[in-house]
Symmetry: C2
Subunit: 456 residues, 2 copies
């Protein structure tokens, strides 16, 4: 709310053409908020607001704008403005930006970059989307191990201004091979005349350009890192990854798991920016697969035609829903445990044993509850003929509840582990797929029992 008022006051300044005041107000505002203001602005005012910013701040704001707004701005930029943004942007932001732009914009941008930087950009654009390489930036501080602490601090003070992080410096030899790291904290707390080689940590946790970014984010979390060097096959440092990009990776991975668990193909863009057709496309494949597998339940039910008495059919939704819920509870805990590294494929016996005990506990309670409910409903309240013995039918329904819970917990907890073992993503084994399997097994057991016990 406060934000909105502030944004309105900026718009008033634009209307009244008080551009000095506007500039002063923007200079006192966080770049993230300026970006948000530009995105909410009328289209005609966007370029005006952007152009009023000093160029360093403008580049920072640019890094926080949405793709579509960036593209509009780039199209209206003069050549000088484009060059200026490119000089000020960190390399990782430049790469992110270029990956989202249509080819003609990329061409225009590359034409305005000097040949050295163009070469690096082209190299960075080639790293696969899910690799450590795609997260890197090259703005890091490199030191020589023979420097003294004093020389190192002096060097950081001289060149640090262009670097994304000055807090970890990387010690490299003449061929850029990584030899160690030293943090600014180490430097500040050491004596001026100490040699870097003596205080550097040689035990560097680093990634290779081709490493999967999920693996990289796990290492960040495990070791509570703030940044991590990325090396090539020869051990040479090619860039660094910083924690702010890892936070995004963690959230993207979680979003992907949420989507997979709900039978969605992972989306590329936020919901409101995706077209109806794209959203429908991401959903239809799984819906079709699951609908096809619904045929299985239909065919199974066909085999029990005589047993489809109204009183038994009335309990079908309760049985299949309970099975689906019980299964997805177990599946979710196992999938999340695997994703966070708290569970391992090797734990499968422990998990199975736990789930069996849980389902005996839950199953007995729910079966007892069902039995009582059935008897009250069909033998106490409603005394007309339901076609079968009410007590026997109550037994059939409640034994089925027990069976469904045990079976659902077993299937739900084990399928993600099987997926992981087969090197598939455990998340795709969640609710929808499990529901379909559990449906088929539950209905077969239920009507099979009914036929056997009730003699129909």
């Amino acid at each position: 709310m406060e934000e909105n008022k502030f944004f309105e006051s900026l718009t008033v300044l634009i209307c009244e053409k008080k551009f000095h005041k506007l500039r002063a107000a923007l200079l006192a505002t966080n770049p993230v908020d300026i970006a948000e203001y530009i995105m909410r602005c009328d289209a005609k005012d966007r370029l005006l607001v952007y152009r009023i910013l000093p160029k360093e701040l403008a580049a920072e704001v640019f890094a926080y704008l949405d793709t579509d707004i960036r593209q509009v701005l780039v199209n209206s930029f003069t050549d000088e403005e484009l060059t200026s943004v490119l000089n000020e942007l960190f390399l990782d932001d430049t790469i992110d930006f270029l990956e989202e732009m249509p080819a003609y914009v990329v061409k225009k941008v590359l034409e305005h970059t000097d040949p050295d930087k163009r070469k690096i950009i082209n190299q960075f654009l080639q790293y696969p989307d899910d690799s450590a390489g795609s997260l890197m930036t090259i703005e890091y501080v490199a030191l020589n191990k023979n420097y003294t602490v004093d020389e190192a601090i002096w060097r950081i003070r001289r060149i640090g201004i262009d670097k994304e992080t000055v807090y970890t410096a990387y010690v490299t030899d003449g061929k850029r091979v990584l030899e160690g790291v030293v943090t600014v904290k180490d430097l500040l707390l050491a004596k001026n005349e100490e040699i870097i080689a003596e205080i550097m940590d040689e035990n560097v946790i680093c990634a290779h350009t081709g490493d999967d970014k999920e693996k990289v984010s796990e290492t960040f979390k495990k070791y509570d890192l703030m940044s991590m060097p990325v090396i090539d096959a020869e051990g040479r440092i090619v860039g660094i990854i910083t924690i702010d990009d890892i936070v995004d990776v963690i959230q993207d991975e979680d979003t992907e798991d949420f989507e997979k668990m709900a039978a969605l193909r992972p989306s590329e863009k936020p919901y409101l920016k995706s077209s109806v057709f794209t959203l429908a496309k991401n959903r239809i494949s799984w819906l079709l697969v699951l609908m096809l597998s619904g045929i299985v339940s239909g065919i199974l039910l066909g085999a029990f035609e005589d047993a489809l008495l109204p009183v038994l059919v009335a309990f079908m939704p309760m049985l299949t829903d309970t099975g689906g819920n019980a299964g997805s509870q177990a599946a979710t805990l196992v999938i999340r445990g695997l994703a966070l590294g708290e569970l391992n494929v090797k734990d499968y016996l422990k998990i199975l044993w736990k789930e069996i005990r849980i389902s005996l506990l839950l199953g007995s309670v729910l079966a007892a509850f069902t039995f009582v409910r059935f008897v009250i409903q069909y033998a106490v309240i409603r005394k007309d003929d339901i076609g079968v013995n009410a007590f026997l039918a109550a037994i059939v329904v409640s034994i089925s509840v027990l069976f469904v819970i045990i079976m659902a917990k077993t299937v739900g907890s084990m399928l993600p582990i099987v997926a992981k073992k087969l090197r598939l993503d455990p998340a795709i084994m969640a609710a929808p797929l499990i529901t379909t399997m559990i449906d088929a097994l539950s209905l077969t057991f239920y009507f099979g029992m009914a036929k056997a016990i009730l003699g129909i």
Copy 2:
């Protein structure tokens, strides 16, 4: 695998009583890995390995151990060892540790803390579990705005060793009221004689002790922060929050959403460390609620007794499963969008309009598919009497598919928004609850249509 070999080599050193070599090997190992080794060790070796570490490293390793192992160690500690760990641990780690320990351990620990620290610990222990206060640490660097850059760097070099982060310094007045921040980067890149007041950023993004930690983590993400000061009602700085704790908050919040969406009560401990009884307790309440609501479907079906022909019953699982899946797809996207701040309650009309178009597209395809399948199965392959006209029945089933998809997408996308509007957690509106609602609506429509069109 590599890790396991290394751990085995350490165990061999213990067996051969080569403690000097063991100590040397441990000194070259990351504290996180040492903690992992101690947790995997035989119980009898744990204290031995821990005691071999120098005290600063020991405290760092201690911060990475699991609760149960910490408790075992604390119980075997001498008073001196306990005091030493407490002196070396950062305050936020001390608080986390104390919150997990039984009362008698907390008492023992507090007896070994000096009165000043004990007062702070007691104050910190009182912040609610989900508040900014519970994430804070007090190890920050405070500066006076009249210092020169040179004096500030000198001060950091002198006192920084005890601080969790030395990279952001907080400028405060005599009463600890926060006046601005200055990063070590700013200091390093400024001239020695500049005054802090001139280079500090007065526009500080900060949290209040009582702020919800989810809100704090959103601010961290929005502004790409590394740390954030926490102030009290009088604007005095009481502590700082660092990004490593925020990464944990993000993951915990996501885990909680996964659990809620699978009809689980949020768990306190990892799966393998939770008892069967606790796990069952977290699952039973929702299973009972959903089972009770399954009664509604049962009663509705009871009203359609005459319409429960085998051919129609055979399509029930397909219809309810498709509805459940379609609904949870929409619900998941909306819940996740709300959680990430990409969607807002105000967007409800945009979302509704999008979902209606998506469901018309998906619904038509799936209805056409169902119609063709029904006709082939019942009019082409199997020509015996199914009790009703096969074409009319095919129309009933496929119109129901279309209806179910539209209804499921609407319910699935709107319920989380309603929850958010009512200040409930949107995640509890996910799959299970929606499935139950969709079941009831689908079955009513399906058998209602059947009665009307097929005249049964």
